[in-house]
Amino acid sequence: VSHAKSPLLPGTLELIVLQLLQAEPTNGYDLSLRIQTISKDVLSVNAGSLYPALYRLEERGLIKGEWSNTSAGRHAKVYSVTKAGHKQLIDQRDAWRRFSGALAAILKAT
């Protein structure tokens, strides 16, 4: 049932979710749309991966969800990044930069 147009690198979904929620707290559905839009339709996150990932992050205290009414008048659970989540995001971002830099260097050198 996977519809991903490009496979997500393992462990990157957390980083993506944290980064996007840091930019703006939002609900699960809008988050999935936003991933698709910002990645210019390259990345599509299945609901079956997204929600467990959200719950896992919530469980670890990196994000927190609150039920509120959206602009469209619906009752939705809006997630936002916690302090711990913010710290985690910075760490992961650094790690990713180092990793992608190293990868780029390898690709360029050979």
Partner: protein, 898 residues
């Protein structure tokens, strides 16, 4: 939490549907597309639940609720599993607890952190392997106390029976006195529950000032109703002793064999001679503390830190060897043996345990120790029992799981993950195991609490460690038994499960069949042995004597060992008492109760045998010594001969039962015929001449023949008093006479034969009931095994049954197929069990004890046949239930999967 998750995912679907509608899809299509893109909602929810740790606690709650709903739907099979487990766990916990308290824990009342060891001497004849306990002499004990390099402290004691008299409370009751050396209680680590305890001996102080004692807790309860007793005085062998303390309730002596008394006192060793002199002990009691031959003392001590029991044993051996060299040489035993036996002495130090008995070997499973062999056997039986229970539970759980394959398949196809279904099944079996375990432990606790009331079993107490261990065993059993069928039932995925094919049926059920055969195989011998034991108990019932004689006869027990004076003086006192009783109004006769002298193997002498075929047989009989008038007193008619003709020097006259006479001599006159008594070494002893025949109907003690040896005079420790009217009215006056004539003898309860009989009947009934319940449980267990195996077979072969029925097999034929299969297992088990039955009967036959032989005379084959039939009937019923279920299989339903 669950609702939130659902709402959130629903919102996701709604929003996406809206988006697709906005892009121009119809609402129906959009809804479908959104669902398609989203994927399986329940799977996502499942994953999501896994993602949040809290979820599994909730889902376990749901699982448990579901499990209970399932049990409610299948009450019979669930209850069976719980009962089988409870039975197994109770048995296992009881045996394990017994082993634990006997072998691993210190004696009751002794703190576990006290490193107490038992110092023990032992002796055996050079040519025999069995060791006997050998106590220490006082000088030897003193030397042990001085072994400062291995022991930090050593204490010893010696016991005597004493007569305790407390005016208005205890009327000359027999009690056990333990005369202890200084520091006994502090070495053992026991603090008195009341009072200060025994003071240290003051050198040179007069004995009178040291006449103090600590009493046992039961004695405090019985004699003083737990009132303040400190400084009250009790008369011990007529000597006033001041009470200075009460031992704690659990503590009633260090060694198992001394714990049987309710009335126990601990007194300083220095008071021993004064108190023994009060009883008029005929040996010089002062000598007891100086002679190397007065081996009277038990000893316990604490090891020095870092000293092993082996090192201590080495030190104790040296002392013991020196003590033995100072002992007088052993005397010859028996008139025939030419030279005295060569004795081998040894000594050892062993950790003190609940069942430690002086000298009879530690429970370290040494081969010549019958007690440890018994415990090893018990342990084996318990483990076997647990194995059988596990096999049965596994069979029951597997057959239940097989029956639920359809349900499991539906759950799998609805999106439940395999782990989820396995977890469900595991939860169910674990819940069953927990219930079964709890029930079993409740039974165990009840049994132990009841046993705790029995003095000898008091060391055996409920124990949290045992409970925890058994509960782990129960849960482990549940999980293991649940795991296999859970994996089994969920294997192969949705399609296979939905098609309801047989999966690995044959191999599993072959193993199952093996278990069942083994169970039936062991059931039969166990039941045969139980039946023989019950038969023995029933047979030992005395046939009521005629004319209400049991009511008219009192049995008086006199203990002359505590009466002062020489043997002649004591004999005269006893004669005076008996004469007074005989002459008192209302008393007809007073005679000694027959004294059991041993078992004898006899055979009719060749020249005295008649034409009867059985006359040449050897007869094992109990031999009792009897005086003239006994049969008359008991109202037992003599069929032949005079009452008693005194024995001559060359032959012994005997009175035999009419049954034995008929067996050996037929209708011929048995009078004057002679028996040869055969000793174990096959050399003939004296001749026995028949001088009378009593009516066997009335006297029957046990199942071997009873032969009375006639003598004119007999001094026993029990006397029969025949009264002209029901004898209970005479009790008080006779007690009064005993008190006056034997001033220091303990007064035992005086009861009529009728009362003794009632008591015996009651305990016999209890024993019978206990054994019958055991037998019933064993039968139940093995029939459940059979039931499980057949039910499993039916469940696994549903499709085959369907095909057979579709091809025209009638219900009766299907029932016959399974019934035949089950019965065949039963028959194989019975056939294999038969040799074991015969062997165990032979074993029983050989274990002749002084208290009587086990009756194996009714044809063993008959009993075996009856038991076998019983097992078959129960097995048939256990088989028939699932077999009829097989016939109800609907061929259409069974074959639909094709």
């Amino acid at each position: 939490m669950e609702r939130e998750m659902h709402a959130e995912m629903q919102l996701h679907l709604d929003r996406h549907t809206d988006l697709l509608v906005a892009r121009g899809m119809s609402r129906v299509d959009a809804r479908a597309a959104a669902r398609r893109e989203f994927g399986n909602v329940s799977v996502h929810q499942e994953d999501a639940r896994d993602a949040r740790g809290v979820g599994w606690i909730e889902s376990i709650g749901a699982d448990v609720r579901f499990a209970f709903r399932y049990f409610a739907r299948k009450p019979l099979s669930s209850a069976t599993i719980v009962l089988v487990l409870a039975f197994g766990i109770a048995g296992y916990a009881a045996v394990f607890g017994l082993l634990q308290s006997a072998v691993m824990r210190p004696p009751p009342g002794v703190p576990a952190d006290v490193p107490l060891v038992l110092l023990r001497g032992k002796v055996r004849q050079k040519d025999q392997p069995a060791w006997w306990p050998q106590r220490f002499s006082y000088p030897e004990l003193r030397e042990m106390t001085e072994l400062r390099s291995v022991f930090s402290v050593v204490t010893g004691w010696t016991e005597s029976n004493v007569v305790v008299d407390i005016p208005g409370v205890l009327d000359r009751a027999t009690a056990q006195a333990q005369f202890v050396t200084d520091g006994f209680f502090s070495v053992v680590g026991v603090r008195p529950a009341v009072g200060s305890g025994l003071p240290a001996t003051v050198a040179g102080a007069p004995v009178e000032s040291q006449l103090v004692g600590v009493i046992s807790y039961p004695m405090w309860e019985d004699a003083f109703g737990r009132e303040d007793v400190v400084n009250r005085t009790v008369m011990v062998n007529g000597v006033a002793v001041r009470i200075v303390g009460v031992a704690p309730p659990e503590f009633n002596g260090v060694l198992a064999h001394s714990r049987g008394h309710r009335l126990t006192m601990w007194l300083p060793l220095a008071t021993r001679s004064a108190i023994r002199a009060g009883a008029g002990g005929n040996r010089s009691t002062a000598d007891a503390l100086s002679s190397a031959d007065s081996t009277l003392f038990e000893a316990v001590g604490r090891l020095k830190p870092g000293v092993s029991t082996e090192q201590a044993t080495a030190a104790v051996r040296v002392v013991a060897a020196r003590a033995v060299s100072q002992m007088a040489p052993p005397r010859a035993v028996g008139p025939t043996s030419a030279k005295p036996p060569t004795l081998v002495y040894d000594a050892e130090v062993a950790r003190l345990r609940g069942w430690s008995v002086g000298g009879s070997g530690e429970l370290g499973l040494s081969p010549n120790d019958p007690v440890s062999a018994l415990f090893a056997l018990l342990g084996t039986v318990a483990t076997l029992l647990l194995l059988v229970v596990c096999a049965n539970v596994a069979a029951l759980v597997v057959s239940a799981a097989v029956g639920r394959r359809q349900e499991i398949a539906v759950r799998l196809s609805l999106g439940a993950s395999r782990t989820r279904v396995i977890r469900q099944l595991l939860t169910e079996s674990t819940v069953l195991a927990a219930i079964g375990g709890a029930l079993g432990l409740a039974v165990y606790w009840g049994v132990i609490a009841a046993l705790g009331q029995v003095p000898y079993a008091a060391f055996f107490r409920p124990d949290l460690g045992t409970v925890a261990f058994s509960m782990c065993v129960a849960l482990g059993t549940g999980i293991l038994c649940g795991l296999a069928p859970a994996l089994h039932a969920t294997r192969g995925g949705v399609a296979v499960a939905l098609k309801d094919t047989e999966m690995g049926a044959t191999r599993r059920s072959r193993l199952q069949h093996l278990f069942v055969v083994a169970q039936v195989m062991f059931t039969q011998p166990l039941l045969v042995v139980l039946a023989l034991l019950i038969g023995t108990v029933v047979n030992e019932a005395t046939i009521p004597l005629p004319n209400g004689i049991p009511d008219h006869v009192l049995r008086l027990v006199v203990d002359m060992t505590l009466t002062p004076g020489t043997d002649t003086q004591r004999g005269a006192a006893l004669d005076r008492l008996l004469r007074r009783i005989a002459e008192s109004p209302g008393v007809e006769t007073v005679l000694p109760d027959p004294v059991f002298v041993g078992n004898a193997t006899i055979r009719v002498r060749a020249e005295d045998r008649g034409t009867v075929a059985g006359a040449a047989a050897t007869v094992t009989s109990k031999m009792e010594v009897v005086t003239p008038g006994y049969f008359d007193l008991m109202g037992v008619p003599l069929v032949r001969g005079s009452d008693v003709t005194p024995s001559s020097d060359t032959s012994v006259t005997v009175i035999i039962g009419s049954d034995l006479a008929r067996e050996l001599f037929g209708d011929a006159d048995p009078m004057g015929r002679r028996f040869t008594r055969i000793s174990p070494s096959q050399t003939a002893l004296r001749d026995l001449v028949v001088s009378g025949v009593y009516d066997s109907k009335y006297i029957d003690r046990g199942n071997s023949a009873l032969v009375f040896r006639a003598v004119t005079k007999l001094r026993g420790n029990a006397y029969l008093i025949r009264a002209t009217a029901p004898a209970t009215d005479l009790v008080d006056s006779i007690r009064g006479m005993v008190r006056e004539e034997l001033p220091s003898a303990p007064i035992a309860p005086l009861v009529t034969l009728a009362q003794i009989e009632t008591q015996e009947t009651r305990s016999r009934k209890a024993l019978e009931a206990g054994m019958a319940v055991c037998g019933g449980l064993i039968l139940l267990l093995s029939s459940i095994g059979l039931y499980g195996a057949v039910a499993l077979g039916v469940g696994q072969r549903r499709r085959e049954i369907g095909i057979r029925m579709a091809l025209g097999a009638r219900a009766g034929q299907v029932v016959a197929l399974f019934y035949g299969g089950g019965v065949r297992l039963g028959i194989i088990g019975l056939a294999l069990g038969l040799p074991i039955s015969l062997a165990s009967v032979a074993l029983l036959k050989s274990s002749t004890t002084t208290s009587g032989t086990v009756d194996t005379s009714p044809s063993v084959l008959l009993i075996g046949g009856v038991i076998g039939g019983l097992v078959m009937v129960v097995a048939s019923v256990a088989t028939l239930i699932p077999a009829t279920r097989a016939a109800r299989v609907d061929p259409v339903a069974a074959l639909r999967s094709e």
